[in-house]
């Protein structure tokens, strides 16, 4: 086993994604503690040019092959399994994204390496790697170690500063062909979201509503509040899934990342996937009937109350 820390780079449209930089920044400090290198692994077809964007790594391994032109769970797994087996890094860091979930659990099963999922912190001390992971939608945190001292970690986006992984540098660049291919899953197309009636990423006041709203007809209440505040209504995922608001209003992991001046979180529990999209808001005010709701750990102001009482009162107050 080496002390190396491997980061699987995620990229789209010719750019490295932020979660990769977040991991790379942390990989640098972990590698210093483990006496190894921070290694970025970049899979793709004709992607050598992107290696230059991974200057914070000590080494970039470019796995280049036509079957890797777009992400495919099987193609990535086939290419990565032999590579990780051979290099025996101390840690493999993967973003907990749609594709990252496939890659991490696939590698864990194929290589018999333990996997710590939904990590929000990761350090190395005398006992080896120590990951802090979220469970129960953020209501519990667990500190875990790997029985054999090495493993795979998927990290929740936003857990580490991206800037630390963006530094310039001149990493050693190794280009290899994938040792194996598997085309049982074939990429067909990348579909982009249609523009909505409102662009919630540009609004300065978001009145955001979650499942705590209870009934579809109550959406009117938050529409009225948003109007009174000169803002727009956004939502958590279940509200979009229910069709109570358009998908374009959804903030979070699979929705949009928003950074308004004010974010009112009404009846939103604050699951990690939701926080991922809104924790950067300048001011967060949360109203939730559950005092233990994780949303209160990112809120600046919190109210433990029924939103159906608070919202009309607030609308009357600001609209009056």
């Amino acid at each position: 086993m080496s002390g190396d820390i491997v980061v699987i780079a995620e990229h789209r449209d010719g750019a490295i994604l932020d979660p990769t930089y977040e991991l790379l920044g942390r990989a640098r400090s972990l590698a210093a503690a483990s006496g190894g290198e921070a290694i970025a692994v970049l899979l793709g077809s004709g992607v050598a040019g992107l290696a230059g964007s991974l200057g914070a790594a000590a080494r970039v391994i470019v796995v280049d092959g036509p079957g890797l032109a777009s992400f495919s769970p099987t193609a990535y797994q086939a290419a990565l399994v032999p590579l990780v087996r051979e290099r025996e890094p101390a840690l493999v860091l993967i973003a907990n994204s749609g594709s990252g979930m496939d890659v991490a659990a696939g590698l864990s099963a194929a290589l018999d390496l333990p996997l710590a999922a939904y990590a929000i912190d990761l350090t190395i001390d005398a006992g080896g790697p120590l990951a802090t992971c979220q469970l129960y939608a953020g209501k519990i945190q667990a500190k875990v170690r790997f029985a054999g001292g090495r493993g795979i970690v998927t990290a929740v986006a936003g857990s580490f500063p991206a800037e630390a992984g963006m530094g310039p540098g001149s990493p050693v660049i190794e280009t290899v062909a994938p040792a194996a291919t598997d085309d049982r899953i074939r990429f067909v197309d990348l579909l982009r979201p249609e523009a909505g009636d409102v662009d919630i990423t540009r609004e300065s006041v978001l009145v955001s509503v979650g499942r705590g709203i209870g009934e579809q007809e109550n959406i009117e209440l938050v529409e009225a509040l948003a109007a009174a505040l000169g803002g727009a209504v956004s939502s958590s995922r279940p509200i979009a899934d229910l069709g109570w608001l358009p998908r374009t209003r959804q903030g979070g992991k699979s929705g949009l990342k928003v950074k308004p001046r004010v974010y009112l979180a009404l009846g939103i529990s604050g699951a990690p996937e939701h926080l991922e999209g809104m924790r950067g808001a300048e001011l967060i005010i949360a109203v939730n009937s559950d005092a233990r709701a994780p949303i209160f750990s990112v809120a600046h102001y919190g109210v433990v109350a029924d939103l159906l009482d608070v919202v009309p009162a607030l609308t009357a107050r600001v609209g009056g």
Partner: protein, 262 residues
């Protein structure tokens, strides 16, 4: 087309969670359990696919865990329209994902399937998602965070969407058999009347199969804790009018609310 759906119960987050005396697990004594939300989407998708012209059977598998009520979970599957339900292995407490995947792999050696649907994730997994772990054990392809499942007429491939950040979606074609981690169903999961579930719990056949043994997650839990919420937030209390007054003041300090016309 034969579909397998994996389902489980998880603690109801509306109830308060507590840590056990060891400080490394949940205190399960007072927990109440509900079906894992994403598993209900997986079942709904399987039923829709079966009933929208592709035919075949829907078989639901759950681990035989002593916490919660697996029989009720499986009876609910039957009440919603599943053809067959199977309880796999026997566990005192919900096992880790690696152990669960090993148990399902054992059982699935005896069940025919073309498509295995799981929930994309569950709130209690620490060592990753069962879907891709199981797929790799069975040497099947897998896609996580899936919506829009469409079967080809010849039933040898399936087309799915995988969701990424920012509303971006990849469309994939997968060769069957495959494992999909379902993020959401096209329709809200169908309702099954409680009376029907009760009745099925008495009369229906819940098959049992062996499975499990020894996989383990390879993780050592050092400590579990309930993170402090609200330690950084300033909490506002009072009656709704007082709360509204305070929030309005906070907003108006920032020029938001009555003070600004847009």
């Amino acid at each position: 087309m034969d579909y397998v759906v994996l389902l489980k119960q998880v603690p109801d987050l509306a109830e308060e969670l507590e840590i056990d005396a060891d400080g490394t697990g949940l205190d399960r004594e007072w927990l109440s359990f509900v079906a894992s939300e994403w598993d209900e989407y997986a079942l709904e998708e399987a039923l829709l696919l079966r009933d929208q012209g592709h035919g075949g059977t829907v078989t639901c598998l759950a681990l035989g865990v002593e916490t919660g009520d697996v029989d009720e979970l499986l009876a609910t599957c039957l009440a919603r329209g599943a053809d067959r339900v199977i309880k796999v292995g026997s566990f005192e407490a919900p096992p880790d994902s690696h152990t669960a995947a090993a148990a399902f792999a054992d059982a699935l050696a005896h069940v025919h399937y073309d498509l295995i649907l799981t929930g994309v994730q569950a709130i209690d997994d620490l060592d990753g998602q069962v879907g891709p772990l199981l797929a790799t054990r069975l040497d099947l392809p897998h896609v996580s965070v899936v919506t829009h499942i469409a079967l080809a007429h010849h039933h040898t491939t399936v087309t799915v969407h995988q969701e990424y950040a920012g509303g971006i979606v990849a469309e994939f074609e997968a060769t069957l058999p495959a494992v999909l981690g379902v993020q959401t169903s096209r329709e809200t999961p169908r309702y099954a009347p409680v009376s029907r579930i009760r009745q099925l719990m008495k009369t229906a056949t819940i098959e049992a199969m062996a499975g499990g043994g020894g996989a383990g997650s390879g993780l050592v839990i050092e400590a579990m804790a309930i993170p402090e919420t609200g330690s950084t937030a300033e909490m506002i209390s009072g009656n709704p009018q007082a709360i509204a007054e305070r929030i309005a003041a906070i907003l108006s300090e920032r020029g938001i609310g009555t003070a600004v016309a847009r």
